[in-house]
């Protein structure tokens, strides 16, 4: 590539393949991630809708499509237990590893982070492309496990041994996880180097928008937490393929037969290694959405964020602490009381920065003249709903209450409040917020309002009943909830939850239509339609390859709204005066 004195690469005409498929432009890769991860989210959601039918109406044939499944998956259209387990495992895996993380990090991080720090691209553009082209095959590999003999993995997204060692389908799960982890690691290295080295002149760390900080902390978590799962997956792969016994205890009897391996391993080792990844992973799921919410709130309250440094330091604190809380997922594994107490204390400590973040965001609303546009509605919904998710987590972090609640629907309700009404709500809001930047057009507001209200209300109607059922003692992971007598009084909540899930699906239709319609026919918009201050709004919509005409110079912090004595109510980071 030849370079002019400003360091901008001149680009020869790119072919269709170079421009849209094997692109090295962070913006194209970001949009590839966006579309792909939304596609996987839809698939994961589809799997869940099948499960919800079984949970609401156990033993009844799945309407319309039940007879399309093969006889071993759904005899006479009624879902089999094995199929239910496979759906459960794949729903979790797809939503977490193929849906939300690639959406929050791969899509938003890729597109917005380089723009917000004033960089022309990521530090390693070709590696960036490779991340995506590992993610997509990894995802396809994961999905294709449904077609393998024995079906997809059936041991939950957590893949606890010994079950995961003896169940079919798990080998494909492990192989695709190794591919996905590699993709994630390449991405994390790229994000870190970009944030550290590629900031525009004047963009000091304390002038970075909260979103960039969120991505930075997330990348650290991905970099350091994923390798342990990779190692753990390698050990599990060894157990399955080479018949080692890392996770298989001595004298294990399976269906009346002694396990043939040497034994001597420890099933709990997997749980520790898995949660050592998967707890930081929870913060990987929520930090980028928190960053998105912070951006939207600052922009639409037209005032600086309350406690910018508190927000950032809380995110860093969460990043550090998230490596010390993993075993609170394992209170019922029989750990000693003193170890349980340790993780109880660290769990209570990590809730402090989380509450600090939420408090800062809520205080940011105070005294603002709020613009209630579609992205702001999503950001506002995030605050109380994520709050519910966080607060319902406290009883799970306390050992005593966790013993009762752990294996119930309460856990599922809690987790989904965090990740669905928290993360996904924010990620959807982000689409409306940055869509004008991506395509130079705005999304339709009316369809946006329908999407917002329908989505938020049906999400609450799905997950609130789960909290009730859980507190009544309904166990999770059950194929047939009516098998336990004490579940019968709360079974009607399952029906509410199922219908709400189908409503949620319906309310995504206006969004999908709106997205693709606005892409081509939406109202044309300008460089900075939201009158925002951060750098991504200081370049054309959509930005050309190389982003900025010349390297921007940053003069001030990211949220200079309503500064006294100025004509406009926003002061862009790039404005010299």
């Amino acid at each position: 590539m030849s370079q002019d004195p400003h360091g901008h690469a001149h680009h020869p005409e790119l072919t269709f393949w170079e421009k849209y498929v094997f692109s090295v432009d962070h913006k194209v890769i970001g949009l590839q991630y966006l579309i792909t991860s939304f596609f996987f989210l839809l698939i994961g959601f589809g799997l869940m809708m099948l499960m919800r039918w079984q949970l609401a109406f156990p033993g009844r044939a799945i309407p319309l499509i039940g007879h399309m499944f093969s006889a071993d998956l759904a005899p006479n259209g009624v879902m089999s237990g094995e199929f239910y387990n496979a759906l459960g495992a794949m729903h979790g895996t797809i939503m977490v590893f193929l849906g939300i993380v690639p959406l929050g990090v791969g899509a938003y991080g890729n597109y917005v982070l380089p723009l917000q720090i004033g960089a022309p691209d990521m530090a390693f553009p070709r590696m960036n492309m490779m991340s995506y082209w590992l993610y997509l095959p990894g995802g396809i590999l994961m999905l294709s496990s449904f077609l393998m003999p024995g079906g997809a993995a059936q041991s939950g997204w957590t893949s606890y041994p010994p079950l995961s060692i003896i169940n079919p389908g798990q080998t494909m799960w492990l192989l695709s996880m190794v591919v996905l982890i590699t993709s994630s690691l390449l991405g994390a290295i790229n994000f870190l180097v970009t944030t550290i080295n590629m900031r525009a002149p004047g963009m000091s760390l304390w002038r970075m928008p909260v979103f960039c900080w969120a991505q930075f902390v997330t990348a650290v978590l991905l970099l350091l937490a994923f390798p342990p799962l990779e190692a753990a997956s390698i050990l599990q792969l060894m157990d399955r393929v080479f018949h080692t016994s890392f996770y298989m205890p001595k004298d294990l009897v399976i269906l009346g037969q002694a396990y043939a391996g040497s034994g001597g391993g420890q099933p709990l080792l997997w749980q520790h290694l898995f949660w050592f990844l998967a707890h930081p992973e929870v913060y990987v799921l929520v930090l980028p959405p928190m960053g998105i919410v912070a951006e939207i709130i600052a922009n639409n309250t037209r005032k600086p964020l309350h406690g910018y440094k508190t927000l950032v330091l809380s995110m860093v604190a969460i990043g550090v602490m998230s490596f010390m809380v993993w075993a609170h997922h394992m209170f019922i594994s029989g750990m000693s009381a003193s170890l349980g107490n340790f993780f109880l204390v660290t769990t209570m400590i990590i809730s402090v920065p989380s509450v600090a973040i939420l408090t800062c965001l809520i205080f940011s609303l105070k005294g603002g003249s709020i613009r209630y546009n579609v992205p702001m509605l999503f950001a506002l919904a995030f605050l109380p709903l994520f709050g519910i998710g966080g607060l319902t987590g406290l009883p799970l972090g306390l050992t005593v209450t966790d013993i009762y609640l752990h294996d119930t629907y309460y856990v599922i309700g809690h987790f989904h409040f965090v990740v669905v009404t928290g993360s996904i709500i924010a990620l959807l809001g982000g689409v409306y917020h940055w869509f004008p930047k991506w395509y130079g057009r705005k999304m339709n507001d009316r369809l946006g309002y329908i999407h917002f209200w329908g989505t938020t209300i049906s999400m609450c109607a799905i997950f609130m009943p789960m909290l009730f059922m859980g507190m009544a003692g309904a166990q999770r992971r059950l194929y047939d909830p009516t098998a336990q007598l004490h579940n019968l009084p709360v079974q009607s909540w399952n029906i509410v939850s199922t219908y709400a899930a189908y409503a949620l699906a319906l309310f995504q239709l206006p969004f999908i239509y709106n997205f693709f319609h606005s892409m081509w026919f939406g109202e044309k918009t300008v460089e900075n339609p939201w009158k925002a201050t951060t750098l991504e709004w200081a370049c054309p919509s959509p930005p050309p390859h190389g982003n900025f005409e010349k390297t921007p110079k940053v003069h001030r912090g990211p949220y200079e709204y309503s500064v006294v004595g100025r004509k406009t109510d926003y002061w862009m980071q790039t404005d010299a005066s």
Binding site: R199, L223, A231, L235, F246
Partner: protein, 201 residues
């Protein structure tokens, strides 16, 4: 920062916010993730060993003299790759090629010795399935062996590149040699921990 922000320009230029070029920072971050990978395996080793009622002594079941030879080979190769870097720094093409070739030969030597060890064990019918000790032994040394193969590919690529004069004019080349050196030292250090953990303790 004086120069323009450009991924290609910052690849080998240390005049960045952090004072380290993008490429070098990337290599260090990659090594950080690799440390976590092997640290997990060492942790698993400790946990599994603590939980076992009996654990064989390396001297009884493994070939310690061969492993000692391998340790010497790897440490020597760490010296030769530093020499290769020094020669590359001086733009001494033939010197670089000699030391790099020596590094690659030593790495192959390591793998050959390892193959003899594995071969002897397989002949006795011993494999990863035999016991928890052999499971961790084969997994860790196997993964380390894969890293050696990766190093051979990396160093071989650099050796091939060095035959093209064009690459010597590109400042990136020296950075690549340094990155490969960092990686090779890491692989070496992993063995320095593996050897006592599996063979001696």
């Amino acid at each position: 920062m004086s120069q323009a922000l450009n991924p290609a320009a910052l690849m080998d230029n240390a005049d960045t916010h952090s004072g380290v070029s993008n490429a070098k920072l990337g290599v260090w971050l990659f090594l950080a993730s690799e440390i976590m990978l092997f640290a997990t395996l060492f942790t698993s080793y400790i946990v599994l060993r603590m939980g076992s009622t009996s654990w064989p002594w390396g001297w009884d079941v493994l070939n310690v003299p061969l492993a000692t030879l391998n340790t010497v080979i790897l440490i020597t190769s760490s010296v030769t790759i530093v020499m290769a870097y020094a020669k590359a720094y001086d733009k001494d093409k033939s010197g670089f090629q000699r030391w790099m070739a020596a590094t690659i030969l030593l790495s192959f030597g390591f793998l050959v010795v390892k193959a003899f060890e594995y071969g002897a064990e397989f002949k006795l019918g011993i494999g990863p399935h035999t016991s928890i000790f052999y499971a961790i032994y084969f997994t860790m040394t196997g993964l380390h062996g894969i890293h050696i193969l990766g190093g051979i590919a990396l160093n071989g690529g650099l050796l091939y590149m060095s035959s093209v004069d064009e690459h010597w004019k590109n400042p990136l080349f020296l950075g690549r040699v340094e990155g490969a050196g960092l990686y090779w030292h890491f692989v070496d250090i992993v063995w320095i921990f593996l050897f006592p953990a599996l063979y001696l303790l």
